[in-house]
């Protein structure tokens, strides 16, 4: 057996790793070689993306909105898009390459991915219309919400606060009153019957 193991499995060949390992990191590790401009991206977008995401990334129906929503993150109904929310350009390239178009994943060549990503950046006012995105120009792009995230801070903000011996008797100053009812909203499937009679 192999040192420190059971001798199970076999060596992965470089072409096998290359076929599956297409992930891209924020620092650019994993970027495929290639390039694409905004105008080319628009053509591909109209052909393969716009039927769900809208001509300008505004979304059709309930499909995800890709562009817009700037400065809405602290409002009541935030609109989270690539331009308003996503912190890293690498994620756009990686995800489009890996999982889009929905239903025909991994059908895009690297140049097409770069072009589409350039168009998405243009729709979000991140780049000008003559921008060419490539593995070389990747580092020039700064995403608007790059600084919008921080590591889970529940240990400091919640866990200590909510570790205590809870009240068991006379815990409220006044008896509880109902302030909101789900039945009023009436959006639960199968609730055409009287509430509480059991949903089919």
């Amino acid at each position: 057996s192999r040192d420190g193991g059971f001798g199970l499995g076999r060596a992965a060949l470089p072409e096998e790793v290359a076929a599956w390992d297409i992930d891209v990191r924020p620092d650019g590790q994993g970027l495929p070689r290639g390039s694409g401009d905004v105008a080319t991206g628009e053509e591909i977008w109209v052909e393969t993306c716009a039927m769900c995401h809208g001509d300008f990334g505004e979304a059709v129906g309930r499909w995800p909105q890709i562009a817009g929503g700037w400065d809405t993150l602290n409002r009541k109904d935030p609109v989270k898009t690539v331009g308003s929310y996503w912190p890293y350009l690498s994620t756009v390239i990686d995800y489009v390459h890996r999982a889009m178009p929905f239903g025909n994943a991994q059908s895009l060549e690297p140049d097409q991915v770069y072009a589409l990503t350039a168009y998405i950046l243009y729709l979000n006012n991140v780049v000008d219309e003559d921008f060419v995105l490539s593995d070389q120009t990747f580092a020039e792009v700064k995403m608007p919400n790059a600084d919008g995230f921080f590591m889970d801070d529940r240990p400091e903000t919640e866990l200590k606060e909510w570790t205590y011996e809870p009240c068991m008797e006379n815990c409220k100053e006044a008896p509880a009153e109902i302030v909101m009812r789900a039945a009023v909203l009436d959006v639960t499937p199968g609730t055409d019957e009287a509430a509480g009679e059991g949903q089919r």
């Binding site: 192999r2 193991g5 059971f6 199970l8 499995g9 060596a11 992965a12 096998e16 599956w20 992930d23 990191r25 499909w63 993150l73 935030p78 989270k80 929310y85 912190p87 890293y88 690498s90 994620t91 995800y95 890996r98 999982a99 929905f102 239903g103 994943a105 991994q106 919008g148 995230f149 921080f150 590591m151 889970d152 529940r154 919640e158 866990l159 909510w162 570790t163 205590y164 809870p166 068991m168 008797e169 006379n170 815990c171 008896p175 509880a176 009153e177 109902i178 302030v179 909101m180 009812r181 789900a182 959006v187 639960t188 019957e193 009287a194 509430a195 509480g196 009679e197 949903q199 089919r200």
Partner: protein, 416 residues
């Protein structure tokens, strides 16, 4: 044969129960269920060759997963819900475990499935399923809760039933190999502090996992509750990440890459980040905090038997340990009673609780409050909103209230 509906069953139970209220009753006339022969008392049933893989009784046909069509753009990247209100104990039957896919159910041929380990390792490796099954195995029971469970309830009471408000969870026994053994087989380099897990479906789901967790208690599992994973749960193999949000439990697991920093993939930037009131967002909120829900009575499981003995029951769980204690109130939190924990209590697993009361027929405001083994007490929704606002979508572990009226009907409500 016509299948009696659940409503007919409940009505029958209600009639039978009405006679009981006010003490032990005497039947007015002989019960035909006793005095008249039933078909099953005379006729032969099906033989042992009729049901090679058994199904529940036809009278349990209402115990099914359900979805909420308006939640998502289409049913392929969507979610359905475990019927918690019909279950007891802590083990979720495989066919009822909620589903969450991002590109539908991948139907993977196990003979063609491969698991690759690459990146910062001494030996990049490829395993077949047969290889994986030659590693030492372990069995563990863990809950898998979607990060978005109860997410529709952030702004207030919305969906009427614990299946919908709390059903993005299941709890099963997994059989598999500790992830640590696979990583040791490949030899993680000193700089390897992060792990990327990737699925084989068309979503090619990817998540970054800190190496400390990967080496601690993660499993690469191929069995659930004793049998092969269901296709919708990642057949032939999935990642098990105990206590952490369900999105990280990558199904149809095909690749593990070792690196020296997180990949910041779509599912940990655009999704599974928690937006706070100030417009900034928490990322890498992995643990699922202590949580509980009363499964009966609940909107889909009303009281149909009238006054008298009533079993209040529910489930509790924590991603940070076990649940030694659950408190239950029937008056909206003025007075609490310690519930009775029953059945096995395992780390990062569901726990079952019961509170037996004598119901006087008065309206109730039912709540349950879990305490986990770290001493953390499940917060109210208002406590959560005070810290986070209403837009974080994920990680809603706030206390649930059911308003039970004098008829025994229950409703999802928020209270002062």
């Amino acid at each position: 044969m016509k299948t009696p509906t659940r409503r007919a069953f409940l009505r029958g139970a209600a009639v039978a129960g009405a006679a009981l209220s006010g003490g032990r009753a005497m039947a007015q006339s002989a019960d035909p269920a006793i005095t008249e022969l039933r078909p099953w008392m005379q006729q032969l049933g099906e033989g042992v060759d009729a049901r090679p893989y058994g199904h529940p009784s036809q009278y349990e046909a209402h115990v099914v997963r359900r979805n909420v069509p308006w939640l998502t753009a289409d049913p392929v990247s969507s979610v359905n819900f475990t019927p918690l209100h019909e279950l007891d104990g802590i083990i979720t039957p495989n066919g009822l475990c909620f589903e969450r896919h991002h590109a539908g159910i991948a139907e993977v041929d196990p003979a063609e499935h491969r698991l690759m380990i690459n990146g910062l390792v001494e030996r990049p490796l490829v395993f077949t399923m047969a290889d994986l099954m030659r590693f030492p195995r372990v069995n563990r029971v863990h809950f898998l809760e979607c990060a978005a469970n109860s997410g529709m309830e952030w702004a207030g009471a919305q969906l009427n039933g614990c299946q919908y408000t709390h059903g993005m969870i299941h709890n099963v026994m997994y059989t598999g190999v500790p992830l640590r053994l696979l990583l040791e087989e490949a030899g993680v380099k000193a700089a390897g502090t992060w792990l990327l897990a990737e699925g084989a479906d068309a979503a090619a789901m990817t998540r970054s996992i800190p190496m400390e967790k990967a080496l601690d208690d993660c499993l690469v599992a191929w069995k659930m509750n004793g049998e092969a994973l269901r296709p919708e749960q990642g057949y032939p193999v999935r990642l098990v990440v105990p206590g952490w949000e369900g999105n990280m439990w990558v199904k149809w697991l095909r690749r593990l890459e070792v690196g020296d920093q997180p990949w910041e993939q779509r599912e940990e930037t655009s999704k599974y980040t928690d937006l706070l009131d100030n417009g900034r967002a928490r990322k890498f909120t992995w643990e699922m905090d202590a949580k509980s829900v009363i499964t009966s009575p609940s909107p889909q499981a009303p009281i149909t038997h009238g006054k008298g003995p009533l079993v209040i029951t529910g489930v509790a769980w924590s991603g940070r340990g076990t649940i030694p204690r659950v408190d239950v109130t029937t008056d909206g939190g003025m007075t609490w009673h310690q519930a009775r924990m029953s059945g096995p209590s395992m780390d990062k697993s569901m726990h079952r609780f019961y509170l037996e009361i004598d119901w006087d027929g008065a309206p109730m405001l039912l709540q349950s409050r879990a305490m986990d083994s770290t001493g953390y007490v499940q917060p109210t929704k208002d406590m959560l909103r005070k810290v986070r606002g209403e837009n974080s979508i994920y990680h809603n572990n706030g206390i649930q209230t059911w308003a039970v009226n004098a008829n025994g009907e229950a409703e999802n409500v928020e209270i002062s």
